[in-house]
Symmetry: C2
Subunit: 445 residues, 2 copies
């Protein structure tokens, strides 16, 4: 994309409404614009990041054999009355009457509707296991929406639901989700720690939240420092192998890690003192096993091999997709702006033309731009006739991980400058070396 | 995808609620399930088609330099009061009060909000031209939702908005959209004819609807038969070249083609009698130029080169993304089921194992499956232990354009059978020839 043709409204002033850095930077870098309280429009660059995050979520769910679908945002109240949650949900549920006077609501979550899809179509143990998920907009009418997309009212969520014959099968699905989530967050450049959590209004026995450590996190967390040494990496997991999934679960949850909601001071005291940590964390996902709570309420049963009819065991599993932009920025920025991890960056590399109109600079920039596009990469080319300072400021603010600066002196010597946004390290090299380096960096992602 | 692990609830009975064939087939083939009146869940295979359609729309918009963004579904009533449409819109607008008692609505279209994004960020002619678009869920509270996704209440729409300095620039944007739409529909296997239309509640001077001819269309249409001979094909268009875009516009709109709303019997009579046609059509898109209607109402102005402040010229341009599934099926089916065009098919090829458990058949099917996946294609492998009749029935119903049948006799002779869903023609060939044929078919798309 050429910046002269892009819509990238970088703000010069610091937006006053932003209390946390991710909210401020998302506004300043032109990623979002508030539409009304807790509700945002995603401007082109913010939308690109959102799509990259969605894509990672889809890829990792597909790897585990989970099936993507899509449920509507507007749902009838009837199903929610059947489950008993219509009255229980409280004021956070956005309630609507349609023109026929029927009670509807903007989905805050979809256990009821997905269970209805299941009960209408599945009758036999032979069709299990089954995990359906969606990435869809949700609404929670927060009384005090704040922190930008971190605690908005309309937000994008991945919500997945497993249907299994037995508790053991459902716990395998639970483990499978933990594995997919670990890899999902790591691909986004995040360390998200699974912590024992409280089940809240969904209900359930087993639940873990995934928390990203950040000073601005809304939860206080307590953990054994050994847990931050764990990484999932690029292990190959056979998702049908129960022992393998269980081993990952054990590895990542055997050390103490809890939020303030489930913190147990006595247990925490058993962690060697030098490894005890308290910090703040941002919740970016949660997995639940809740057994037959919804299948019993809604009559979602299957026939077993013996011909008995039994309610299915279920769980639900969420990732806060739009919130992740905020969490990533909280975890990865400096005083100049955002620093996107390579996995989610809106553009793979920035090209800075230091003298637009100079035949040499223009030609090298055009060449770089074309080469990156041919390689399937997405460059952002600052071809504007602006001061160098403004160009560097914009690039730093929007936080592309790599930048190539093309100036007349370098062009004369046959070199460009490749700069890493995170470290600030810059290196002169030939155009072909710069292209090769960028290709190598993204080839491994 | 292996069918044994897929969620594909093909219905045996004909759903009684379906009045038109696309609605019936979408329910029978397990693409959608009704959630409430005029509101559907998209089951995994339906969701895959929806995503393929979205992808084509994105690619064609990107080609013209239009920028993807995303606006929220829930909007404040304030902006709609500013434009005067809050009261004017009538009962089709889903109106909501949030917990704070503020008037909100589920967006039926987004002229107001996108104009607000524009006016907050763009002040100069230098930032024009600009076209922003989104693919987002909309809601229109139809009094009688019917025909499945063809006239639903919650529906997915691509809506794009151009901002230009002058009327001439905006008409170029209008032409650009016509060109992108022609290619978009053709890539989906549809012939969509631009017809002069009525502007309706959006308002505006110039507007064309795109109609797909189908017996079940809601509009009566009148046209010169020469228009159905036109195809856009794979011409390369420079979208900055005004004359080139205008030439396409002229080519595709100079012959008589109107809906009943704008039909002019006297003009139609000038078409030579043997070329006069009347038929029914399904509207799948519409482009508008409406000048300064919204920019004046909402104060969206820019400074010209001379320092004057002028309201921008705008247009809006829509594609009914979810409705397109219905339109495609109306235009492409037979009495056995759907026939997907290659451009939007949920899976590129079906693999039918006629004797699951037979080592030879299993091995050939596994090999085919692996080869297609390696080639970046998406096969659906019917590995279920079912009767041949049931397997053929399912494949015909779900309508994958190509099917490879693997039976024990053929395996012995080193051949499989490749069948075209549209023509029914079947041909025996080696596994490697079958793979090569499928790769060649999709290589050109």
């Amino acid at each position: 994309m050429r910046m002269s043709r892009y819509f990238l409204p970088v703000l010069k002033e610091t937006p006053r409404e932003a209390q946390i850095v991710s909210h401020r930077l998302m506004l300043q870098a032109g990623l979002i614009k508030q539409a009304s309280a807790g509700i945002y429009s995603w401007l082109p660059m913010g939308y690109k990041v959102l799509r990259r995050i969605e894509q990672i979520v889809h890829e990792e769910q597909a790897r585990a054999g989970h099936l993507a679908m899509l449920m509507p945002t507007m749902q009838s109240a009837d199903l929610w009355r059947e489950s008993g949650r219509y009255d229980a949900y409280g004021d956070e549920m956005l309630r609507v009457k349609d023109r026929g006077g029927r009670d509807m609501l903007f989905t805050p979550t979809a256990e009821e509707l997905v269970t209805d899809v299941f009960r209408a179509n599945v009758n036999s143990y032979k069709d299990l296991p089954l995990t359906l998920y969606q990435i869809q907009w949700k609404f929670r009418d927060e009384v005090r929406p704040r922190f930008g997309v971190m605690r908005g009212r309309e937000f994008l969520m991945k919500d997945g639901y497993n249907f299994d014959l037995t508790k053991e099968d459902a716990l395998h699905a639970y483990n499978r989700h933990l594995v997919t989530y670990l890899r999902t967050y790591e691909r986004m450049g995040l360390q998200a720690i699974p912590m024992r959590a409280d089940s809240g209004p969904i209900g359930g026995d087993d639940t873990h939240e995934f928390l990203v450590l950040a000073e601005t996190g809304e939860s206080e967390v307590f953990y054994d420092s050994q847990i931050t040494d764990l990484t999932f990496g690029d292990r190959e997991i056979d998702f049908d192998d129960r022992a393998a999934c269980q081993a990952v679960m054990d590895e990542f949850t055997s050390r103490y890690a809890r939020t303030d909601e489930t913190h147990d001071a006595a247990l925490f005291a058993e962690v060697p003192e030098e490894r005890r940590r308290t910090a703040r964390g941002i919740e970016v996902g949660q997995i639940f096993y809740f057994g037959t709570k919804y299948s019993e309420a809604l009559g979602a049963t299957v026939q077993t091999r013996d011909g008995d009819s039994v309610p299915v065991h279920m769980g639900s599993h969420g990732i806060g997709v739009s919130r992740l932009l905020g969490a990533i920025i909280e975890a990865s920025h400096d005083d100049k702006g955002i620093i996107w991890p390579e996995g989610v960056t809106p553009f793979h590399v920035g090209i800075l033309n230091m003298r637009v109109g100079d035949a040499g600079c223009d030609s090298v920039c055009d060449d770089l731009y074309a080469q990156f596009q041919t390689a399937g990469l997405d460059p952002l080319y600052d071809d504007r006739d602006e001061r160098a300072g403004a160009k560097f400021g914009t690039m730093d603010m929007i936080g592309l991980p790599w930048r190539i600066t093309v100036g007349p002196r370098g062009v004369k010597n046959g070199v460009v400058e490749l700069t890493c946004r995170r470290t600030g390290e810059a290196e002169e090299m030939s155009v072909s070396d710069a292209v090769a380096r960028i290709k190598a960096i993204y080839g491994g992602i």
